[in-house]
């Protein structure tokens, strides 16, 4: 769900870059993981983990118990080989009692921990990000546990977890426009959870990003993007959003985006009707902010400039720290021939106090990616129960 985010970074979900120095320092330290105070009980039949796996599991349990930052710093200081051995052990040699909820929770927590170090910026290099997400994906992979004949309730829980985790990582990749990785995520999610409204929302926004004319200005032009025309991608987006809205009429972000696609295609009346419904039904300020902005754009086309100004001013009132509505007001007034008012509005742009609030319009094409770390934390709490 779109939300006003408070950050100085313009890129959605780009987290504060934690100093690589810190990682370097931690890497240089000898690994010293103290015994966890409240280690989950191992099943009685369990064979003891190999030393590398034991160390790794201790870190995972620290994460589960709430020592998130410490666990994150520690896991990035572990050798990759050590972690790979541990993950392999979890998959093959760990206790066979797959129905043990603690076993499942541990694997899920491990996947969340690796996602955390990426999303929170504990690791910054592309290769490190790729590696941690790949390890996490292996942990999340159902195959790891499907072989273990999970009880129905555990299987259901894990399937839900898998969807949430995949959505989270896909949104992260969308936020940094890692489109080559995202295309695989979206394909997997659609294949496995194709009817899920959140998945459809992600899928639609992914297609809309590929139709974004300014994508090439970011020097991001995946070769496969050319397989479809801009209108082709927009049609994919429209279809996905429409299905999402049909599946969950309360998913206002999908409705807003559906209206935006209609607007992009010049279907102004349909767009306007949808924006009006969002303005009527949605209680999310960022969504109503965007609905006003996009409504203003639709009004401009047939020359309803005074209506456009009303919408832009409404957007400015919702987000006083955003400059975009004032630029839009100025331009609409200029087109209306009211030069003096256009000048006044343009001058107001520079008086907007720099705020921590990020203008949702600036992040629109970076996907429905909001509040990833809080979502991750909610998932962590779930697996820590």
């Amino acid at each position: 769900m779109i939300g006003f985010r408070h950050s100085r970074s313009p890129v959605a979900c780009r987290r504060t870059r934690r100093a690589a120095v810190l990682i370097g320092l931690l890497a240089a330290l000898p690994i010293a993981v103290s015994p966890r105070p409240q280690a989950p009980q191992q099943p009685e039949a369990a064979r003891p983990a190999l030393p590398p796996a034991a160390t790794y599991l201790q870190v995972v349990d620290r994460y589960r118990s709430g020592s998130v930052d410490l666990a994150a710093r520690t896991v990035v200081s572990l050798d990759h080989a050590r972690i790979e051995i541990a993950v392999k052990w979890l998959g093959k040699d760990a206790p066979r009692d797959a129905g043990d909820p603690d076993y499942v929770s541990r694997i899920q927590a491990a996947a969340l921990l690796h996602a955390h170090v990426v999303l929170a910026g504990v690791v910054n290099t592309p290769s490190e990000r790729t590696w941690h997400l790949a390890i996490a994906k292996r942990l999340v992979d159902l195959q790891l546990m499907e072989e273990r004949e999970l009880p129905d309730d555990v299987a259901l829980q894990h399937r839900s977890f898998q969807k949430q985790w995949l959505l989270l990582v896909a949104r992260y990749r969308h936020s940094i426009l890692d489109l080559d990785a995202l295309v695989a995520d979206v394909a997997f999610l659609v294949a496995r959870f194709g009817d899920d409204p959140e998945v459809l929302l992600l899928s639609g926004s992914f297609a809309e990003t590929l139709a974004w004319p300014r994508l090439s200005s970011l020097m991001i032009t995946p070769w496969w993007q050319a397989r479809k025309s801009r209108n082709g991608w927009l049609e994919d987006a429209r279809s996905a959003y429409q299905r999402a809205v049909n599946a969950d009429p309360g998913l206002h972000e999908a409705r807003l985006r559906l209206g935006h696609v209609f607007s992009d295609r010049g279907r102004n009346q349909e767009a306007m009707a949808i924006f009006e419904s969002v303005l009527r039904d949605a209680d999310s300020q960022p969504l109503t902010y965007l609905a006003h902005l996009f409504s203003g754009r639709v009004c401009e086309r047939p020359g309803r400039l005074s209506d456009a100004v009303v919408h832009y001013r409404a957007a400015a009132a919702i987000c006083p720290g955003c400059q975009v509505p004032l630029v839009a007001v100025s331009n609409a007034l200029r087109m209306a021939g009211d030069q003096a008012a256009a000048v006044a509005a343009a001058r107001a742009v520079s008086t907007v106090q720099p705020a921590d609030v990020i203008d949702p319009f600036l992040e629109y094409y970076y996907g429905p990616c909001r509040d990833l770390l809080p979502a991750l934390e909610r998932m962590r709490r779930e697996v820590s129960k």
Binding site: P10, Q323, V324, V327, A328, R334, A336, V349, S350
Partner: protein
């Protein structure tokens, strides 16, 4: 720097109420339009021209040039500088030096306004002749964020304060827009209508090679867009191949500004609403003239009559 009109003072004084209007004002059937022009011969500015050397047409109708000003008219320079992520490091340092070099080369009556932009547009220094204030602000410049080039240049030249000075916007960027609300068409249209002449100095990201006149596609600023904005306003687009050239490019722009002329003419009767194309050419000699493409008279004339005027 003294304002030194090329017309008799009496005539200038007579025009003072209307001739220095910054935007076309339409008052009581007397509508004065100012056009900032650059005359060149084989690329070199032509100096010493008089009104008699120009032929000016407004929507195809020849106009009598009431007044012409040369280099002595004070200049308001809007520096509109890209401070996004892409200029971090060496580019930013050279950009600062270029901005300071230009500022220090201005006359006492000239003024500087400093705008910086990333995904946000910031007015760092309001119009001032205080070079120390500009220096302090330039020193504080930091780079970071995305690029809202179109919103920035639009905001800068649209928020221009009315005044008698010649108005120039000097835009620097090394990348393409990726965050603006405004479209290319809207900003080009606004630039064509503006009395501010827009120059742009564009640079490709450090380390990318290619001929100056044929920048590597997709790696630098949008040449077509910048050319359309600058040409439409009567300005020009200049390229740099490396950041060391920035200072010289900025000074080149200033030198060219001092070779420009401001022409003013008066429209009789009620101006026809809509687009007024301006065509300026030289008479009795060879050469080319750069000038803004024209201006728009809104159908809502009363509103315009209430508009700004110095």
């Amino acid at each position: 720097m003294n304002q030194r009109p090329l017309l008799p003072c009496a005539l200038l004084l007579g025009l003072a109420g209307v001739g220095l209007a910054q935007t076309p004002t339409f008052r009581a059937q007397i509508d004065v339009v100012r056009v900032d022009v650059l005359a060149t011969d084989r690329g070199r500015p032509i100096r010493g021209l008089t009104a008699a050397n120009f032929e000016l047409r407004d929507n195809g109708v020849a106009q009598r040039i009431d007044a012409i000003w040369g280099a002595t008219l004070p200049i308001d320079v809007m520096l509109v500088l890209d401070a996004s992520d892409s200029v971090r490091g060496l580019v930013l340092e050279h950009l600062k030096r270029a901005a300071l070099a230009l500022t220090e080369s201005l006359g006492a009556k000239d003024r500087v306004q400093l705008w910086t932009f990333s995904h946000r547009v910031s007015l760092a220094v309001a119009p001032t002749s205080d070079q120390d204030a500009v220096r302090r602000s330039v020193d504080r410049m930091e780079a970071g964020g995305a690029t809202a080039l179109l919103d920035a240049i639009y905001t800068a030249f649209t928020s221009r304060a009315p005044g008698p000075n010649r108005s120039i916007a000097l835009l620097f960027s090394d990348g393409k827009d990726n965050r603006s609300w405004l479209t290319e068409t809207e900003v080009i249209d606004a630039a064509r209508n503006s009395e501010t002449v827009v120059y742009a100095v564009a640079s490709r990201p450090l380390g990318l090679v290619g001929p100056v006149d044929n920048p590597v596609s997709g790696t630098g600023p949008d040449e077509d867009l910048l050319a359309a904005i600058t040409n439409g306003s009567g300005g020009r687009l200049l390229w740099t191949t490396n950041e060391q050239q920035l200072r010289q490019r900025f000074l080149d722009v200033l030198e060219e500004l001092r070779s420009r002329y401001v022409l003013s003419y008066t429209l009789g009767g009620s101006p026809t609403p809509g687009w007024h194309a301006i065509k300026v050419r030289l008479k009795n000699r060879t050469g080319e003239v750069r000038a803004r493409a024209g201006y728009t008279v809104a159908p809502d004339a009363p509103r315009q009559r209430e508009g700004s005027r110095p």
